[in-house]
């Protein structure tokens, strides 16, 4: 099945972390993050230690730190929520730079920021060091239902095909002088949405027929 897709997060390199079996990496990520989530917010040293572990793993994996840092923007909306917490949380308040902030809110904001940041870095590390194909094999070894793994395989295989189709529709709209500015333009966008659904569904039917004609019986060689 399809090779590396440019827009996935995989970073090509040769390292012990890249070579490690995918199922071990997924389990390690899960165990690591459950430990982080279960850590009380005021164990500041523990969070420092977790960060050191991640920095060490990223160092070993030879993925540039900037590659990880640039992709941490997914976290931004929750940083805003965390910043609000000290203002809205209840309990005893403390003066910081002339602002009255909640003590428990400050601590919770720290816990949320620390955990979410560690989570994003750890997930990015997995995504950067694991080929989608290897990840699917790993998930199968972890006894995820075969059908679910197959569905994921097809989704990953056709992700770039479908997003490219969406991009071509965008180019087609723009080349006809269309620019979406406000809700009055939604009907046009909704038609693109509808066309994309029909094309994706029909492609699914064609893929199924093509598989049948090649002897598909319900099992896939991954």
């Amino acid at each position: 099945m399809g090779g590396a897709h440019g827009h996935l997060l995989h970073f090509h390199a040769h390292s012990a972390i890249h070579r490690a079996p995918a199922h071990l990496k997924v389990v390690a990520l899960l165990v690591f993050m459950i430990t982080v989530v279960a850590t009380p917010d005021d164990w500041f040293a523990a969070f420092g230690a977790y960060l050191m572990v991640l920095v060490a793993v990223i160092g070993l994996s030879r993925v540039p730190a900037t590659y990880i840092l640039k992709r941490m923007v997914v976290e931004v909306p929750f940083v805003l929520f965390a910043v609000l917490l000290p203002f809205v949380a209840r309990g005893p308040r403390v003066e910081v730079l002339g602002l009255s902030l909640s003590e428990s809110g400050l601590l919770a904001a720290f816990g949320l920021l620390a955990t979410a940041t560690l989570g994003v870095i750890a997930s990015l590390t997995l995504a950067a060091t694991t080929e989608p194909q290897a990840l699917l094999k790993g998930l199968e070894r972890l006894r995820l239902p075969t059908t679910l793994v197959q569905i994921m395989a097809f989704m990953i295989r056709y992700l770039s095909v479908v997003t490219e189709e969406l991009r071509r529709m965008h180019v087609a709209r723009v080349s006809r002088g269309f620019e979406a500015r406000n809700p009055r333009h939604w009907p046009v966008l909704a038609k693109s949405f509808g066309a994309l659904f029909i094309r994706s569904y029909e492609r699914g039917e064609r893929v199924h027929l093509a598989m049948l004609s090649r002897g598909y019986t319900g099992k896939m060689p991954l």
Partner: protein
């Protein structure tokens, strides 16, 4: 927006994880009953579509824009079981390959965005379909109402989870008001886009819309020819 790690404590994350796994397991079996060996390619392609559709931005005002969450529309287009499966697969791939949404919050994300939106969207859609006239034109209306309600309900489930396993001590009433307010607005957008999109698909391929199948069965094939009296004879 995907919940990251650290929003909920460990027990809540584990419990929502178990609920999500059970929901995906049941959906897998039901979808297989319906789609047979077409399951993997069709659900995979529809999941890729849901992923891509979330990249289609609908402008609101002055630079802000939003995209579809897609639970309710997925339920209407491909059915509730396949819908849960598609959106869950999208969340799984986003969590593992795109670092979008925390790995410990995966269960929570599936419960909120796949399970709640699909179940609420589909339940309302079916309820309205029973009550309203059985016409194809009513399908987008029912879908839009389902989509509109599904979003604030998902935000209320989030608040309920936060009341049980939230990591910060904040006023639950205040959180509920804020979340409901914002998500009612988001729900209006979701409803409008769902209405327009389902309408455009119905106009081209009504047979592909799962939620429209019951209404379509009442149609009859009428072959119209230039001579008017032959119409009745060839009508199937």
């Amino acid at each position: 927006m995907h919940v990251p790690d650290g929003f909920f404590d460990a027990p809540t994350s584990v419990v929502t994880g178990v609920v999500a796994a059970a929901a995906v397991g049941v959906s897998l079996r039901k979808a297989r009953n319906e789609l047979d060996d077409r399951t993997a390619p069709l659900v995979g392609l529809v999941a890729a579509f849901v992923f891509a559709a979330q990249m289609l931005n609908f402008p609101v005002v002055s630079g802000t824009s939003g995209h579809l969450m897609g639970g309710a529309i997925a339920a209407v287009l491909v059915g509730p079981w396949t819908g849960v499966l598609c959106v869950s697969t999208v969340l799984l791939v986003q969590g593992l390959l795109f670092a979008d949404g925390g790995i410990t919050a995966l269960g929570t994300n599936v419960v909120l965005m796949a399970l709640t939106t699909v179940v609420v969207g589909w339940a309302l859609f079916r309820a309205l379909q029973v009550v309203l006239p059985k016409k194809t034109a009513m399908v987008p209306v029912c879908a839009a109402v389902g989509a509109f309600v599904s979003v604030p309900v998902a935000s209320l489930v989030f608040v309920a989870l936060y009341a049980v396993g939230g990591t910060a001590d904040i006023s639950i009433g205040g959180l509920a008001t804020a979340m409901l307010g914002v998500h009612t607005l988001i729900g209006i957008g979701e409803a409008a886009i769902t209405f327009l999109a389902v309408g455009s698909i119905l106009a081209v391929r009504p047979d592909l819309v799962y939620g429209a199948r019951r209404v379509l069965e009442q149609r009859e094939l009428v072959i119209k020819s230039s001579t008017t009296d032959s119409t009745t004879e060839v009508a199937a």
